[in-house]
Structure formats: structure tokens, C-alpha cells
């Protein structure tokens, strides 16, 4: 307590606060931003291998194909998410029905699944997996391209619905009511008033989903392996993962080239999306009252709700949970020692990364929220998005190059993996806290300080309790995201065996059933952990 008092006393000093903020920004820039895009400098320092690769048309066509697949899949998936996400967001925000709470929890579940597990589950559900899989599937989807779309929808859809709901909640429901008292049908009211106000949410949702799909490695790689297509069909990240297994002298050039292409395209996209989304003119001038009316009354709105919930059930939840079908199989001899040690490693990496995110993320989040209109605030706001949009495999590769001089092996590898996981989880935590702080009236803290609280006290006693649930939500999101990540871990080092890496290895060696049982155990551990966190943090405050 005396330490708190001391820190509290010096928090009154403006210079100390500036130094602390400076440190947080320095950490953000030096440990997160710079290593993430360090690979771009290799274009100059390793020009020899790069130009060899550029001259090799065989490799280059593979790279173009992989990049093309990545971006087109991400685009198609995001568009589908938008189309089916909008009505779902409506259901969550504007409707009240029994079981809404359960639907809400169910929707987040795929986020808690390691994507490697989703990869297995989805291929078994929709497709015709390679020999050795004992669970019957639908056998509907045989093209790897289609399968990737079905897979990526599952872990991007919750992000889209969440971002859209967050914006919808801020849009005054009276706008729609006002439009309806003026004679607009609900459909017309939504189309002419609410949707145009929705763009900010669409931008966030678009970036989140696109980036998530673009950077996903583990699930994609496993799905392709299960289908037997892993050496013929590539996305950007699986190509990097594939090359990583090769001799470094052969692999370095192509890895640099594809990483740089992915990073540059992703950054261009980040810059363009905002502009394009704001500029796009929705066709709002003309209205079709009779069509609007038909779509607003009778069976049409019910059908829309049924289709939305049906989509969530059939395309998102059922394929994700299909892996539990393995419980009907005879229990195998699982290597529990391996599973436990890799689980421990995963929790260690995720735990340290999240703590790091929170400590160094809060000052930056506070700054962005309170200085939204200054140049510095906007700069930081844009910078925070960068690790989010960069494919994690490229990010991991970049990180490995940046810290490569430290050597690898043992504890250093673990630290590097933690740094890597910090990079792509940091934006999730900062985004959540920024959003929450912006909702809080700054006068609360000002009042606390007029009553004699020092800045740290004002933060810890007033602001912190209000935004606590958002910090926890961000932390859980970051934690599960880290737990499920495969690509970055593989790209950084092959020494650190996290659970998704372990499961990927099992799949590669054909031990499908064992991989499935490990996945189920992992999912259960995750759920127990998440519920424990919720139970502990919700104790005593029901409002959170």
C-alpha cells in the first residue's frame, strides 16, 4: 500500500506522467510496430536472394497464386459476413427474446476455439477428408477454395456481428421510429436512415474480418492437410509456413517476397478501406414504398430472422462443434504429458502477452480516447491497427528476422514467441479500452480530482471500475486469440510447442483421432478458464 501511495503522490507530477506515457509509446513502437514490419528492410539488405526469387517465374507464380487466394478469400468471406451479420446485429441489439443471452454466449464460442481445431472440425463436417478420418461428414465441399471460405466465415463472423452491434447500439433508435411516424416502412427506415449511419461500424468490421481471414494460418493449413491439398493449394500464410519447413537458403527469398507483398497490400488496404467506405454512395434517394412494405410486414422479417439464426447455427456453430463427434469413438491413448506441457506453454505465452498488453496498452488507449482530435491521437490510432491487419505469419517471420541476432533456442525462443503474440493481441486490448473510455464522461475524473484525488487515484478508483468489464473483455479476446494462434508461432521458431502447433504436428503425421481428442480437451480447458475468469470478475457486480 505504501508503494501505491508513493506512486500515487508522484502521479501528480506532470513530468512523471509524460515519462510514463512516453515509455508506453516507446514500447509500442519499438517492440510492436517496428519488428512487425522489419521484414520490409530486408528488400534492401537481402536484395540478392530477393532478386533471385523475383526472377524465378515458377516460385513467383506460386506466390501470386497464394496472395491472390488469400485476398480473394478474405474479400468474399468479409462480404458474406456483412450480408448475414447485419440482420444478426439487429437481432442482438433491437430485439428481446428468451434465450438471447445464450445465443450471445454461443456466438462467441468459435472465438475460443483454436483455429487449428476449427480446421479439423470444418473439413470433417463439410468435406471429404483424407483417409484415416473415421467420422462421417456431409461430403458437400470438395474444392479447397470453397472449404477455406466455409472455414474462415466461422472465425470472422463473430467479429463482424460484434463490431456492427457496437455501432448499432450507439445509433439512436428514435431515428427509425421517427421515420416510421413519417410514413416509412421499417425496411425503408433502416435503409435510408440507419444503414447510412452505419459506415463506421462497417469499416471496423471489415478491417477486423478481412485481417483475421488474411492472417489465419493454423486452421487453414490443417484443413488443407486433411484434404490432402497442402502442397498444391496455398494461401499467403500457409505458403510461409510451408517454406519454413524448407532449407533456409532456398526459403529465405520467397519468404521475404511474400511477406513484403502481404504487408504492403494489407497496409494499402487499411488506408483505402476507410476512404472508400465513407465515399461510397448508397442508393438512398429513391424509395420503393410497396417493396419496403412487403419486406417489413408479414412473413419477410420473420424469414430474415430465421435465415440469420439458421446461418449462425448451420454454417458457424454446427461445423465448429462437429469435432465433438469424436467423443463417440473409442477413447485413444493420448500422450497427456505432451498435451499438458504444450497447454502450459500456450497459457504461459498468452498470459504474459495479455498482461503486457494491459500494462502498456492502457496509457496509449487513454491517450487515443482523450486526444482523438489531435494529430498525435490520430497517428497512434492508425498505428495500433497495423499489427491487426498484417498477416500473423508475415509478422512472425518479420519478428524472427528482427530479433534473430539474439540467437534462438530455450528461453529466448519463448520470449520471442511472447513478443510476437503481444504484437497481434495488443490492438485487440487497446481497441476495447479505447472504446470504453470514450463512452465515459471525463468529468467523472475531473470531479474526483476536485475532491482531492491524485491522477492515479482518479484513474484507479473512478475510471478503472467503470471500464473494468471492457478491459476484461479485451483481455479474454486477446487471450483466446493468442491461444488459437498457429502461424506466428511457427514463423518465429520451431522450438516452442504451443497446443495449436502440437495439434498441427499430430495432423501432419496422420494421427487424426488423437488430434481431435486433444482439441476437445483443449476446448474444455478454454471454457473452464473463461467461465472461471468471468465468475471471478463478475462477483459482486451484476451490471458488468
Amino acid at each position: 500500500m505504501s508503494l501505491f501511495k508513493k506512486i500515487n503522490a508522484i502521479s501528480d507530477n506532470d513530468k512523471v506522467r509524460k515519462a510514463w506515457f512516453g515509455l508506453a509509446v516507446a514500447v509500442f513502437v519499438c517492440l510492436i510496430i517496428v519488428p512487425s514490419i522489419f521484414v520490409v528492410t530486408k528488400l534492401l539488405t537481402e536484395w540478392g536472394v530477393v532478386s533471385d526469387t523475383l526472377g524465378n517465374s515458377e516460385i513467383m507464380s506460386l506466390i501470386y497464386g497464394a496472395v491472390g487466394n488469400s485476398f480473394s478469400i478474405a474479400f468474399i468471406v468479409t462480404i458474406i459476413d456483412i450480408i448475414v451479420g447485419i440482420p444478426m446485429a439487429w437481432i442482438f441489439v433491437r430485439k428481446n427474446f428468451k434465450g438471447k443471452k445464450y445465443l450471445d454466449t454461443l456466438m462467441d464460442m468459435p472465438l475460443a476455439f483454436p483455429t487449428a481445431v476449427l480446421g479439423i472440425s470444418v473439413v470433417i463436417f463439410w468435406g471429404v477428408p483424407a483417409d484415416g478420418v473415421t467420422i462421417p461428414g456431409l461430403g458437400l465441399v470438395v474444392s479447397p477454395y470453397m472449404m477455406m471460405i466455409m472455414l474462415h466465415i466461422i472465425f470472422t463472423y463473430p467479429y463482424m456481428v460484434r463490431s456492427l452491434s457496437a455501432i448499432l447500439e450507439q445509433i439512436e433508435p428514435n431515428y427509425e421510429t421517427a421515420a416510421m411516424t413519417l410514413g416509412a416502412s421499417r425496411f425503408t427506415a433502416v435503409r435510408t436512415i440507419t444503414l447510412p449511419l452505419f459506415r463506421a461500424g462497417l469499416v471496423t468490421g471489415f478491417i477486423l474480418c478481412f485481417a483475421r481471414s488474411l492472417s489465419e494460418t493454423g486452421g487453414t493449413y490443417i484443413a488443407l492437410t486433411l484434404m490432402g491439398d497442402e502442397t498444391t493449394f496455398f494461401t499467403g500464410p500457409t505458403f510461409i509456413a510451408f517454406m519454413k519447413e524448407m532449407d533456409p537458403s532456398v526459403a529465405l527469398g520467397p519468404m521475404i517476397v511474400i511477406s513484403v507483398i502481404m504487408i504492403v497490400l494489407a497496409l494499402i488496404l487499411l488506408l483505402l478501406v476507410k476512404r472508400i467506405m465513407i465515399r461510397i454512395k448508397l442508393p438512398v434517394t429513391k424509395v420503393w414504398p410497396s417493396i419496403g412494405r412487403k419486406l417489413s410486414n408479414g412473413i419477410a422479417p420473420k424469414l430474415k430472422d430465421i435465415v440469420s439464426i439458421g446461418f449462425l447455427m448451420l454454417v458457424v456453430l454446427l461445423p465448429a462443434f462437429y469435432i465433438f463427434a469424436y467423443l463417440t469413438q473409442p477413447i485413444l491413448n493420448v500422450d497427456y504429458g505432451q498435451l499438458l506441457s504444450s497447454t502450459g506453454m500456450s497459457f504461459l505465452v498468452a498470459g504474459v502477452a495479455v498482461v503486457f498488453d494491459i500494462i502498456f496498452g492502457i496509457p496509449v488507449a487513454l491517450y487515443i480516447a482523450r486526444h482523438r482530435h489531435t494529430k498525435m491521437g490520430q497517428l497512434l490510432d492508425n498505428l495500433v491497427n497495423i499489427p491487426l491487419i498484417i498477416p500473423t505469419t508475415a509478422l512472425g517471420f518479420s519478428l524472427a528476422l528482427f530479433w534473430g541476432s539474439l540467437g534462438t533456442g530455450g528461453i529466448i525462443s519463448v520470449i520471442l514467441v511472447i513478443l510476437g503474440h503481444t504484437s497481434f493481441t495488443y490492438p485487440l486490448v487497446v481497441r476495447n479500452i479505447t472504446g470504453a473510455v470514450e463512452e465515459v464522461d471525463p468529468s467523472y475524473e475531473e470531479v474526483a480530482m476536485t475532491l482531492g484525488a491524485k491522477p492515479l487515484q482518479a484513474f484507479s478508483k473512478v475510471l478503472m471500475p467503470i471500464i473494468k468489464s471492457s478491459i476484461i473483455a479485451g483481455a479474454i479476446l486477446a487471450f483466446t486469440r493468442s491461444l488459437g494462434e498457429t502461424g506466428a508461432t511457427i514463423a518465429i521458431t520451431s522450438d516452442v510447442n504451443t497446443v495449436p502447433v502440437y495439434i498441427t504436428e499430430l495432423i501432419s503425421s496422420g494421427s487424426y483421432s488423437e488430434a481431435a481428442i486433444c482439441s476437445i480437451i483443449l476446448i474444455l480447458i478454454c471454457f473452464v478458464f473463461m467461465f472461471a475468469v468471468r465468475a471471478v470478475t463478475h462477483r459482486g457486480d451484476k451490471s458488468a
Binding site: 411516424t181 416502412s185 421499417r186 449511419l197 424509395v287 420503393w288 412494405r293
Partner: protein, 362 residues
Amino acid sequence: MATKIELDGISMKFGDFYAVRNISLKVEEGEYITILGPSGCGKTTLIKVIAGIWRPTEGRVLVDGQDVTDVPIEDRDTGYVFQNIALFPNMDLMENVGYSPRVKDMPKDVTESVSTEYLELVKMLDRAGMFPGELSGGEQQKVAIARALASGSKMLMLDEPLSALDARVRVELRYDIRRLVKKLGITVLHVTHDQEEAMSVSDRIVLMRAGGIHESGSPLEMYREPKSIFAAYFIGETNLLGCTVTDKSRTGKTTVRLRGGKSVKAARSELEEGDAAVISVRPERVYTATEGLKAKVLSVVFMGTYWRVRTVTETKDYVDYNISTDKVTPEIGSKVYLVFNKKATKVFKRPEKGLAEAIRLE
């Protein structure tokens, strides 16, 4: 005049809670009604039911004699103005006001001439190309009213339209609104919790309390002849003193005994000798004299156009009275003798659950 709106036994239930309960009301065509009441008494719920925003749990809404209870909101043709204004932020004023003709698929030139006409009516035509965010609150609310009227509706629901505005704007705008709707012959239900606003604009006040209509009448009736303690207390200001009826003259004039035995003459009442009662007298009907109810001055406050003097009487009641600004004010702590204008007093039966319960606001 024909009946424009009729409510027949309207109840609206949210869960187990009745927001309004069994309300019946007739509104004449062109009438300006204010629905007055403390927060949470169900006044907004009532106009939302009339506008079709909510379907009542029980009862019927009739407009021009037609049952419209099940007509959807977009076909009700009832203008509605929100407390938080709710102009569409993505459209300029011209588009906002032209929204209703547009969604009814009128030709473009009709839409434009309608929005021009109504912007002109509220004197906002010179701002037609501006966006709502660029206007002050009062200007926004004018546009919101123009938008509601541009639907061609002959009924207008105003949901506390002035409560978010500055004091002076509020006063000016309320007369503007009344002038406008009277000119157009619109039937208005105006929800407010401000009794001064209600008295100054309406043809009739409907006083609501706890989901029901408590009392209604013209502003003057409600002020001069309130039928209940709550109405006397809520509309205008009043002094309430507990007492017992001691005598009634042949013409019905009542004499009451205050606590401590002091006798005071009051107006006519229905009460009998020996009944427990409460008398109400407005501060502007209390005067000082050389003898009467002895009281000690507690405070003297300048109210702008008069002085408000608060006293505690020998009967342990608090009594306020007004004196004009050109008069000398009494010293705090000094003794005064108070008399009531007995014709302006009202004698009510003392409520069984006590006076505090009778004037409780929620």
C-alpha cells in the same frame, strides 16, 4: 367540433408493470391538450400508444371514429416530435422535412415544394441546405416540427419538445408552436412536466399520476378550482395546512380550526362539521395584517418580479406569501400576522394515507 381522437380503456403493460392503466379520453378536433404529470406517470407512453409506436395491451384508439389500434405506425399519419429531436443526421434540413413525402413516393418536385413550404412556415428556409448538427437546439426542434407536419398529418404528438432547450428559447418556441398549429387547425397532444408551460399553451390540461388521468380541465379551472390536493399542489404553488371543520354556514361556507386551535374562515366546501380537512391557499392569496395567524419570518427571496417570504406559523405550518418588489420586506425573525383571502382557499378532505402520500410525485 367533432371528436378527433378517442381513447377507450387504454392500458399498457410492461412485464408486470402498468405504465398506463384504463385511460379513456376524448380530444376535439383542433384542440391543444397538454398532458402534464411528474416523471414516470405514463404520459409519454400514452402518446406513443396514440401514434402507434406501441400497441396497447388493452383498449382501443379511435381517430375520426375509426378504430386504428391495429393500424401499423407508418400508416397512422400521426406526427410525432421527440424530446431528443431525432433529426436524421445524415440529411440536410430540406431532405429531413421532405422525408415523409419522399417515402410516400411523391414526385421529386412535390417533395421539394412541400419541404420548402414547411421550412418557410417555421422560418428556417434560409438554412435549408444545412445539416442538423449545425443548428442550435431550438432551431433543430423547429425543423423537427416542420418535418412532422410535412407528412400532412392533422395530429401532432409532442414529447417534451422543449425540455432540452434554453429557458428563453423554450418560452419563445412554445408560443410559436401554438400559433402554428392553431393556424393549421392541428390537434395537439403535448407532453410536459412543466406546469407553467402547460398553463400557458393549452386549451385543456390532462393531469396524469401513476398511470391514470388524475384530473383534467382548462388551465384556469385547474388553477382556480382544483378538485384534488395533488392538482392544487402540482399546478401552480400552494400552501397546505392540516385542519378540522368546525362550522358550516347555511350557504356552505366553512370554518376550520388549524392545529393549536386557531380558527380560520374558508370557502364553501362539501365537508361536514367535524371532518378532518386540508386547506389550500396560493401564496399570492396570503396577505399580512395587524392581526390574524401569527408567524415568524424564516427567509425572504427575491424572485425577479416579486419577493417570496417564507414563514412558520404559530400552528407549526410553513406558509409562503408574496410581496411586490416596491414594498419593504420584513426582517428575518420578525413577527407578522397572516390572513387568507377566504374565497381563494380550497378545503379538501384530509387524505386517509396522509398529506405526504397525496402529493407524492412518483
